[in-house]
């Protein structure tokens, strides 16, 4: 699994990307793993009271996980994950 960070998440993670050979089975497991790896600030940015953080945009293969099952979204080793804060422009 290839995980990419963008905008403020690059600063929080201290790296642009990260590869996992054996990812957890779902998004909940992945976020727990990443929060453990990067610490409390990262955890607060991705999780809120056991739910997806309100300012997190998490894409799995380009699809927003809020449309595919949220924390229960299943994962496979071949997935691409993109981690964004809420962004906008135009």
């Amino acid at each position: 699994m290839h995980i990419k960070y963008f905008a403020t998440f690059r600063e929080l993670a201290g790296e642009r990307s990260f590869d996992l050979d054996e990812p957890p089975p779902d998004v909940a497991g992945l976020l727990e793993l990443l929060a453990t790896r990067y610490g409390d600030r990262f955890r607060r940015a991705v999780l809120a009271d056991g739910h997806l953080g309100p300012e997190l945009i998490l894409l799995v293969n380009g699809r927003n996980v809020r449309l595919t099952g949220g924390l229960a979204t299943p994962l496979t080793p071949r997935d691409d994950v993109s981690v964004f804060p809420m962004v906008a422009g135009g």
């Binding site: 905008a7 300012e55 993109s82 964004f84 804060p85 809420m86 906008a88 422009g89």
Partner: protein, 600 residues
């Protein structure tokens, strides 16, 4: 009147006269200001069949009621005219500080009509209004002209002016203010050029009166707090600018690439807001009364592309980036600077170059046509040179200056112009985001994202998330965004205020400011009225339902790579519902009942 100044300035360049008129109270109430009021004035006073570059066309420079107050991010004005690019009502919106200065000088709008025989500029200092000779400034780029006219008038004057592109009647010319801010779209700069009007230079010292100062202050503070509390309005846009969108649009597979031949650009990250913040950004910058500061003061030391200025915004970074196959951010920044200096719309300019690149690669244009430029995708130097040629009107630049539709049509391939109603579409691929495709197709001024920014819900998670690949619910979504945006534009507010506040807050500020009570329903009805006024104009100039469409490529050729691979836009699933919900008949014509409801 409160909020409005109560005065409109009418300038006849043919006869060299200036007169003041009272702002019509009913017009102000029903159309609010800026895009709304200006669009109504154009519809009432200009023959839909008029030559947009002839003396019979008029221009309206109009701030809105919020402009010049401390309403958060409420410092904008519009340039409204019949577009020479596509005959629609052009309402091109800009920030900076020019709009507030017009209000302080005492004007709800400046209407410019006729045509001067020689170059002139309009000098306004409150009640003093003079048409002055601009022969010495004609031919100057925007930066030099602004400096020179300030030296002749007042060093603190605010200036809206055209560059050589507008003078040369380029159909993609913009009107620039504060050197780097643009009323960019629909070719408004060419209309100014056709009137031989180089600039409007203004100093204003008067107040904007407020009907209920305590209520207005309370509403403004509440709105400011909400915008600052929003993660995007409060910090995100200031840190990375609008160009932060490059990566997320690329990740969802909706970053139009190489003239919309694909929806994914492998090197996108090199051109995004993160890269700009790390390499070219000097500091963020806001417009008048801005609490967001999305503007970018930038610098590039690259010897090939040296310069300092402002930009790029997301659309510009996309157009000179992914859409042109270029991943050199210094070159993108330089191309932006040149557009600002010559007075060119960065979206239409870049998209026209992308179109030219495809025409060149397919052999429909040759080196003989391009003055020797090897205009292949990814050739950054050729791209920057093409901008320069367009700005100066030199050689192949003359053809680029007419926009992509006319260029592609001239070689027998109009289908390769990525336009709707002949205006270039911006940086969201309608195959990867269905709702924005419907917005492009129905846009009253052609391809445009800021008329109905459904991306907020479909991609950015601002509001209830909606599947970008689904068509269900998109007609209602588009209409809601289009009506709200029309009303917001008319107030003089920045669209980015909606990253924090919505219709109820805008209606409350407007009511407190003007003393005219706008319920949410009435505020949104004003937006719907503005939209339908623009639609009726389009029908009069000859547009029909057949023009509410997208380039064939987007309807038939699936995206090749990335997260939206295999998708096309399914416009036919959305358009009939859109007409029905709008209260229009199957031909896209507003019904009599709808017209009566809107008092049109």
């Amino acid at each position: 009147m409160y909020g409005w100044t109560g005065t409109i300035l009418r300038v006849d360049l043919t006869h060299g006269t200036v007169r003041r008129e009272r702002t019509d109270r009913e017009l102000a109430h029903d159309y609010i200001g800026a895009r709304g009021m200006g669009g109504r004035i154009i519809a009432d006073e200009v023959d839909p069949q008029a030559d947009p570059l002839g003396p019979e066309n008029k221009m309206v420079f109009a701030p809105g009621p919020f402009t010049g107050t401390f309403a958060p991010s409420g410092g904008r004005y519009n340039v409204i005219t019949k577009s020479p690019l596509n005959n629609t009502i052009a309402a091109s919106n800009s920030g900076g500080t020019f709009g507030p200065e017009l209000k302080y000088a005492g004007y709800d709008a400046v209407i410019v009509e006729g045509r001067s025989r020689t170059p002139v500029y309009l000098w306004i200092r409150d009640d003093e209004v003079v048409i002055r000779d601009a022969s010495a400034f004609w031919g100057m780029n925007v930066h030099d002209a602004v400096d020179a006219m300030r030296a002749e008038t007042d060093e603190d004057a605010k200036v809206a002016c055209i560059g050589p592109a507008g003078e040369n009647l380029s159909l993609i010319a913009s009107v620039m203010n504060e050197m780097h801010r643009a009323a960019g779209r629909t070719g408004v700069g060419a209309v100014m050029g056709s009137k031989k009007l180089k600039a409007i230079v203004v100093v204003g010292t008067g107040p904007v009166t407020v009907a209920d100062p305590d209520r207005f202050k309370s509403a403004v503070l509440s709105c400011t707090g909400k915008i600052k509390a929003n993660p995007v309005g409060g910090a995100g846009l200031k840190a990375y600018g609008t160009n932060v969108l490059v990566n997320i649009l690329n990740e969802v597979g909706a970053l139009p690439t190489r003239n919309f031949q694909d929806g994914h650009f492998p090197n996108a990250d090199k051109t995004g807001g993160e890269s700009l913040a790390a390499n070219q950004l000097v500091r963020p910058k806001g417009c008048y009364a801005c609490v967001i500061s999305c503007g970018r003061v930038t610098k590039t030391d690259n010897p090939l592309y040296p310069g300092m200025g402002e930009g790029p915004e997301y659309e510009t970074a996309w157009g000179f980036g992914a859409d042109s196959g270029v991943d050199n951010l210094d070159a993108i920044v330089k191309a932006n600077y040149l557009c600002n200096e010559y007075g060119l719309d960065t979206i239409s300019m870049s998209a026209t170059i992308a179109c030219a690149m495809e025409l060149y690669e397919r052999g429909y244009l040759t080196k003989e046509d391009t003055d020797g430029l090897d205009l292949v995708f990814g050739n950054a130097q050729a791209m920057v040179e093409a901008v320069r040629k367009t700005g100066t009107g030199e050689g192949f630049g003359k053809r680029l200056a007419e926009g992509s539709y006319r260029l592609a049509e001239s070689v027998g391939h109009p289908e390769l112009s990525m336009t709707t109603k002949k205006q270039e579409m911006p940086a969201y691929d309608p195959r990867g985001v269905q709702g924005i495709g419907l917005n492009y197709a129905t846009g009253n001024r052609g391809g445009c994202h800021v008329r109905g920014y459904t991306i907020s819900y479909e991609v950015l998670g601002q509001g209830p998330p909606m599947d970008p690949h689904a068509t269900e619910g998109k007609a209602a979504l588009d209409i809601a965004f289009q009506n709200l945006t029309a009303a917001l534009d008319a107030t003089g507010s920045c669209l980015f205020a909606t990253f924090g506040i919505g219709g109820p807050e805008l209606a409350e500020m407007l009511s407190a400011l003007t003393g005219e009570e706008y319920s949410l329903e009435e505020f949104l009805r004003a937006g719907e009225r503005i939209w339908n006024n623009e639609r009726l104009w389009n029908l009069k100039v000859g547009y029909s339902a057949a023009d509410d469409t997208l380039p064939k490529r987007l309807l038939e050729e699936p995206i090749k790579t990335g997260a939206s691979r295999g998708e096309v836009n399914r416009l036919d699933e959305m358009l009939p519902e859109y007409y029905s919900l709008r209260g229009w008949d199957a031909d896209g014509v507003p019904t009599q009942a709808k017209l009566e409801e809107l008092a049109l």
